[in-house]
Symmetry: D2
Subunit: 339 residues, 4 copies
């Protein structure tokens, strides 16, 4: 599990850090500015260059980080010998080409999720990274949140008992990119959380979706999966919902957990509730053989730290120490295969 | 749509009501006491007898309604010439036999949902009621809530525009009867609301469910339906959830509606939100052809009246005026067919 | 603390109960029907008569309880030798006269809160009950809720540490009686909870209120109290609020508790949060001497039982066993004195 | 009322802006980084220098804005001729000295709220700003939120009718500065909102507060104010609450408004609820002369823009166009006087 140094620790470390990781960001649209801001604040890293086709976006980046270089094409960045690592937040269809070029130029790479538009492409990127001994990390930001780390811990120590199901609703109004459907946009979050927390992969899958008359791409989908013979998983992803919901239920034989990412303080609630099979059935008609148990609920305290910052720190550490990231190409490849 | 007299009106009517409908209740377990209490408070009706196999339940009924008769077997009630109507809240497997006997004895009948355990049985009950010219009503209580009536009104006047989808989550911990699975227990609520509000029936259906090791019957299910070519419906019903959720989203081209039955005051929220196709796409990479529109939300005031009381009143009116109930055997037959 | 038999226990007890307490209810307006329904369902008690000036209300009572007597004047009830106890839910200004007559006629008495319109009247009723050796109980219903019982238990075992403050907001739109202001209507709830849970009485009090142009009586008030030298209590009671709020915070040195009576399941939340004085202050300008501690939260499971039923059972037990009620005249007298 | 250009507009304007306002920030603790980030992103402004006594904070600032100067003492900034404006976010006790020096050096000044530690000091700063014809703005950030702007608009157009009361609860766990009590920390927010929205000042005031044994300073307070003869205002500010609450009710004769700043989407709800005096009272005992009216609720859509950015833009405009800020020294002086 991810262990992170305290802010104090990091600040002190900074002064002594010998080699600074020099980073370039490709794509300064919706997510790029967040990556740029976080990596620029991480000790041991420095933001050097931002690339975006749109001059307006370049101006914004320059305004925000007056000391960096900006450019329209990726060439100047890929072949910039002063850059050690490339963060890619361009449309999915371009991930493969850009990541390939960067890896081949010897850069470490962080790619926005999902890794690539097909499992063939994803597979090749994973092999390229291995071949060139470079870090290839995929930006599954949720894995780095304190909440998901806490859920992993609770599940791993068996507090929930045997897992019965994983149910997730991730809906809101609107999308951010035009070259993918809702499943490619939203489902990677839940799939990566699901596989990370339960350490299981889907065996079978049924998906139903809808595109509405105005649109060529699906804007809502329901995905049912079987994880093991007894574990059911279900995702509801939707761009056409009036309100934002990010709600996951993980229910086990012993306890049940609800993760509401929109709650400020009580993101995780663990309910001491479940069922027990009773031996006999004296009461007759109105009692059942199954007993429902209702106990207390508790909400573990979750430290407030920006996940993207922890993720950027993790990237820097993986490069410095030659470690494999939690969300490396291999795990992300599985997500792409499912999609 | 249901129009209901005000409480004042009803009270005055009572004195002048010529023929009182004399009612017997069969089954005094979980739901029977509610039916008994409500029918005993409706003008134009009188509770005469309660039947239950369990002597303890008879004692409870007698304590609560000292003036009524109680019995163990249904015979005394079915052949009681002082009784005009029978309310049946026994396990589903017995609905058919009891309702058949009651209809053939010339009684009007209210049956707990679902009408019967098979569409063959349901079909025969519908025909029997028609043949004997008796009222056969099914207790789809939600249809009589002010909230569902308001939703019907909003959808009918076209406020939401063309409907895109109907999504409902109805989960909680625990079940009330041992002879049916979660779909037969919970889904009739959503199916009856769905068909009543949208005036459409499912064309196709995919369901996935799970029974967990302890149990012989499904305790959770996901049901995807196609209502018309462009309308998708999805139900999540679950007895194994840590918290109670009753949440329905109905989204249309123009507006979107959320119905949260657990909210005290703001059960229905209508969002002036949606999508519009934009004609051109000057902005390039980061803008999409689809525009999302976010406007105000409003929550219509919902009068607080017990739905079961309105339903009992509706039953009495249908008998007195020879009218067909909103939730008659025909509509409930459709629900049973889908199940 | 209140201990209550399980439903099973009570049912069995019923058959063996020797002497049934025969009860009459005076006042069948807003609250009377609730008292009548609950006492009629309690083992060891029987509803005999309902008195109300309004013939319409009598008709409603008769419809609901066909076996009881109804009357307009209290005389027939007070002097009815078949009645052992009187429940009084008339306007406050009449409590004294009616309760006095009932006690002098040898009846046990339950009075709606507050006990009387002045502490002089309340004081005399308390003395009368003592003199005639009759139970005089005041209907502070909240004290009998499982939630308040649980809070009492948590505070009593010292889980919160030394209490710092008690803050309660009890607001909604509308009032139920015309002869009292908002303080007399709503504050008795909080005062009775406050004194029951903390076992302390206010030493000093500042109240500010407002009546708006349309009204002769206060419709909102803020009350600040000092309970002990270090405990502060504050009530906000209001009839002119757009939403209903019933929220109490009890904060102690070790933990903090929130009681939200409108929550279905998680009425009580206990937060392991607080402050600690740190010894030194090395960090300088931006650190303070006081450390804030943020830990987990838990919500104890609260059994769902109607408080009014428990209260009616408690009344019957007190009469049968000659015990003093939790909410006897003495405690209620303190509430009236504060008001 | 504040009118703000759209993001598009601002971006284009940037290229053409002739004179850039050069800004220095004094104090880089909790709030300083937010001010620095926002002013650095505003068109027409540039961040030049950050001053903080703590070398660690200087390092953080330099990491974040590599192109700026940092220093320990304010002298280098105050006498830096390349700086046009100074943002002050130091402890309150130092506001007066620093702001005075800056104004006398011809700088425009933005000061964190409250303006100064006494009304005498505040008064002198206001006079100094007038004398030197410099902008003196106080950072009452809430005034610049879209939510408060919307509330102002709703109240100003008379939608709520005559105002009856303003009730605000602003509680949380923890404080940020050690040299002031909870009233000086939290109440300025509500006082500035209150006076801005209602355009009225308190006529009288009662405050009760508590400091707990560990502490020399008040950590909770209740403040009751009379605004006009019929308008009541009440604030509850508290550093020792288990949860964060920011909830304001503004109730008028016609409608009622709730502002919940912690809601993501529905920050403002307007309830068509109120009271009406009825002419007669035929019903007798259980009806009152006052009728309560319950209608629909609506939640106006609130655009999501960072208030601090709008505030920084407003500061730049006021300097460029010689305008008086919405939250100028005069209004803030009133807040200080009340405190």
């Amino acid at each position: 599990m991810l262990t992170t140094k305290t802010a104090e620790h990091i600040q002190e470390q900074k002064a002594t850090s010998p080699n600074t990781l020099r980073v370039g960001v490709i794509g300064y649209g919706y997510w790029g500015p967040n990556l740029a801001r976080n990596i620029s604040e991480v000790n041991g890293a420095e933001l050097i260059q931002v690339v975006d086709q749109d001059p307006k976006r370049q101006t914004l980046a320059k305004k925000r980080f007056p000391h960096i270089q900006t450019a329209s094409g990726i060439e100047s960045l890929i072949h910039n010998s002063k850059i050690d690592a490339v963060f890619i937040t361009t449309p999915i269809s371009t991930h493969y080409e850009i990541a390939k070029a960067a890896l081949e130029a010897g850069k470490h790479v962080l790619v926005a999720k999902p890794l690539a538009a097909s499992s063939k492409e994803a597979d090749e990127l994973v092999r390229l990274a291995d071949k060139h001994k470079r870090v290839l990390m995929v930006d599954h930001t949720f894995i780095y949140t304190r909440a998901v780390q806490k859920i992993k811990e609770i599940v791993k120590r068996g507090e929930l008992g045997d897992i019965y199901y994983f149910d997730s609703v991730r809906v809101n109004l609107g999308l951010f990119q035009q070259d993918l459907n809702v499943v490619w946009d939203l489902a990677p979050h839940d799939l990566s959380i699901l596989m990370y927390v339960l350490e299981k992969e889907p065996l079978s899958l049924i998906a139903t979706g809808a595109r509405h008359s105005h649109s060529q791409i699906e804007n809502m989908a329901y995905i049912s999966m079987e994880l093991a013979r007894t574990i059911m998983a279900h995702l509801h992803v939707n761009w056409l919902a009036p309100v934002k919901v990010r709600l996951t239920m993980i229910c086990g034989r012993k306890k049940m957990l609800i993760y509401d990412d929109l709650e400020a303080d009580e993101k995780i609630k663990v309910y001491d509730r479940g069922i027990e099979v009773s031996k006999n059935n004296k009461e007759g008609l109105y009692k059942t053989l199954i007993e429902y148990r209702t106990g207390d609920m508790y909400a573990p305290n979750i430290e407030k730290v920006e996940a993207l910052k922890l993720e950027c720190e993790h990237f820097v550490e993986c490069v410095q120490e030659g470690r494999r990231p939690i969300t490396d190409g291999h795990t992300s490849l599985k997500v792409v295969r499912i999609l």
